[in-house]
């Protein structure tokens, strides 16, 4: 089997008495979509935050592309190739959709310490950014400030920004949240193709999407992974059915 792109070993994070992350180990292999599911408050977003570097684990190791990234901050991990989206859209709200994506293109190209060339006349920024917006279906809305986009469009913009980084792995935190059935279906199709570019660690509540997309699923309950397996294995797992899936399976 190929080496995992992302490998998490025995990660622990407590908030006071609450074990938000309780000895979690999981990995993300090349070309796969690994879905992370679990009830609200299970610690899914906390786990994503630790992987992306937004918060520090109490103990455990995070290896990305064979390198321990535990000591790196969020920006440094992003530069290594971790492209994340946020559960609640986190955008530069005064900037247009285009400029939000251009910021990612600029970051991927390296230096932000260039003081004189106007970005809006820099086709090495605008063209790749427009191409990415085209891919997610936002090209027509490129010039609108992020704050004026609809909820669904903001979700797509989150994905577009991650795409523009050209990352080695995606961390998507509930990309479908609040998208509606039509939007979810579109995005499911889109993510399906995306795994060929880079593997995806996908936190998602939309079970139709998860079952359609996931190569493997890990189930997180009270900070612990209670099962990892293929879609069929997870659907059949009695503990998972009791703890989370219930009527979905």
């Amino acid at each position: 089997m190929a080496e995992p792109v992302l490998s998490i070993r025995e990660l622990r994070k407590n908030f006071g008495a609450l074990k938000a992350t309780d000895n979690v180990s999981l990995d993300l292999r090349p070309g796969e979509i690994h879905a992370l599911i679990g009830p609200n408050g299970a610690g899914k977003t906390t786990l994503i935050h630790q992987i992306s570097g937004a918060i520090r684990p109490d103990s455990g190791a995070i290896e990305f592309l064979g390198e321990d990234v535990g000591a790196l901050g969020m920006a440094a991990r992003a530069r290594k190739g971790l492209g994340r989206s946020f559960q609640i859209s986190s955008l530069a709200s005064e900037f247009s959709a285009l400029r939000n994506v251009m910021l990612a293109v600029q970051a991927a190209q390296g230096s932000s310490f260039r003081f004189f060339k106007p970005v809006m006349h820099d086709t090495s920024l605008t063209e790749p950014a427009l191409a990415v917006l085209e891919r997610v279906g936002l090209a027509q809305r490129a010039r609108l400030p992020a704050a004026e986009l609809s909820h669904g469009e903001r979700r797509k913009l989150e994905i577009a920004i991650a795409l523009a980084l050209g990352p080695k792995a995606f961390l998507f935190d509930e990309p479908m949240a609040g998208m509606g059935p039509e939007g979810s279906k579109d995005l499911t199709g889109f993510l399906d193709g995306l795994r060929r570019e880079a593997p995806i660690l996908l936190v998602e509540h939309d079970m139709d999407a998860v079952f359609a997309l996931a190569d493997r699923i890990s189930v997180l309950v009270y900070g612990r992974i209670i099962a990892t397996g293929t879609v069929d294995e997870i659907r059949r797992d009695p503990e998972v059915r009791r703890a989370y899936l219930g009527e979905h399976a």
Binding site: G73, F86, A92, Q106, S112, F113, R114
Partner: protein, 328 residues
């Protein structure tokens, strides 16, 4: 630079400020030449702060430190020239100069280094803590200045002759105005370039959403530090001109009231707007001279105006006329 609804009002402001000393001389009111110079220099100081505060959202309540450092650079160099003392005797002898470009370079270099140190510490905090820590640093420098008798202490430093500029006579008020105005225009061009550049994009993103900036792989700290240093250098340049204007480097240039005044200028004119500081400085100096002539309590009315702006016109004068900024 892009044309926008702001551009016409910016051009009008630039033309008004430029025309003011000529009109004053035509009407035989030379005092207004000095007033216009005062406006230009204060505007320049506020353009500096606007880079950190307007673009980066860094509410520095200590920019008087850099304004004052610029002023003292002019004052100290002038004193050494007058007394024919070298500036440094060890490890190598460096003579003082009364040339403005040299004074400006010294002001910029010294304030840049000090800002690097202050910023490196202050920018580890944010919000109210950042405001307080920048204030604390500025106060330290203020008390240092008033307790250092070699350079005037509480009395400040007089400048016997205004710094010289190659090819012109800066003792002529109109000429000195034109020097200040040219510097202001050059720095405004620089501000617009920086705002529209990659660095400017990162800086403005750091104000809007620092998590987003980090998530694309740009660490906010170095971006903010660079902006803080650049901002301080511009304000120090204004300080050097201010001291030359008054022929006096006063400790009050370093006081917290000065820091507050710079923030007020920006809020009056329009935070983050290219000509916000220019509009703010013109209005402020106008209020000070018109109302100040009528009543000693002119600051009460300034307060009322500020209150009106904060409550009803958040975008300041520029926002009132040109509407919200567009980011393309």
């Amino acid at each position: 630079m892009t044309m926008s609804r702001e551009t016409p009002i910016n051009l009008v402001l630039a033309a008004l400020l430029f025309a003011m000393p000529f009109a004053a001389l035509a009407l035989d009111e030379p005092f207004y030449v000095t007033l216009a110079t005062h406006m230009a220099v204060l505007a320049l100081a506020a353009v500096g702060l606007n880079l950190a505060l307007g673009l980066g959202g860094l509410v520095s309540f200590g920019h008087a430190a850099f304004f004052g450092l610029g002023g003292y650079a002019a004052g100290i160099l002038s004193t050494h020239v007058l007394n024919m003392q070298p500036l440094l005797t060890w490890p190598l002898e460096i003579g003082a100069s009364d040339q403005m470009p040299v004074i400006w370079l010294v002001a910029i270099a010294v304030s840049g280094l000090v800002a690097l140190a202050i910023g490196a510490i202050s920018l580890r905090t944010s919000g109210v803590y950042f405001i307080m820590i920048t204030l604390a640093f500025a106060q330290m420098i203020y008390y240092f200045a008033i307790s250092w008798p070699a350079y005037g202490g509480e009395d400040g430093l007089s400048i016997a002759t205004r710094g010289a500029f190659p090819g012109v006579n800066t003792a002529v008020p109109l000429t000195f105005f034109l020097v200040c105005y040219a510097v202001l225009v050059a720095v405004l061009v620089l501000f617009a370039l920086v705002r529209d550049s990659r660095f400017g994009a990162a800086l403005q993103a750091s104000r809007q959403n620092e998590t987003r900036l980090a998530a694309v792989g740009i660490g906010p700290f170095p971006v903010r530090l660079a902006a803080f240093v650049l901002s301080a250098m511009i304000t120090a340049l204004a300080g050097a001109l201010y001291a030359d204007l008054n022929r006096f480097a006063s400790p009050s240039m370093l006081s917290w009231q000065m820091s507050g005044e710079l923030i007020v200028l920006i809020i009056l004119g329009g935070t983050g707007r290219l000509f916000g500081p220019v509009a703010g400085a013109m209005l402020f100096v106008l209020i000070e001279s018109v109302l100040g002539g009528l009543t000693e309590r002119w600051q009460f009315f300034l307060g009322l105006i500020l209150l009106g702006v904060v409550l009803f016109a958040r975008g300041g004068l520029i926002g009132l006329v040109a509407g919200k900024p567009r980011h393309g």
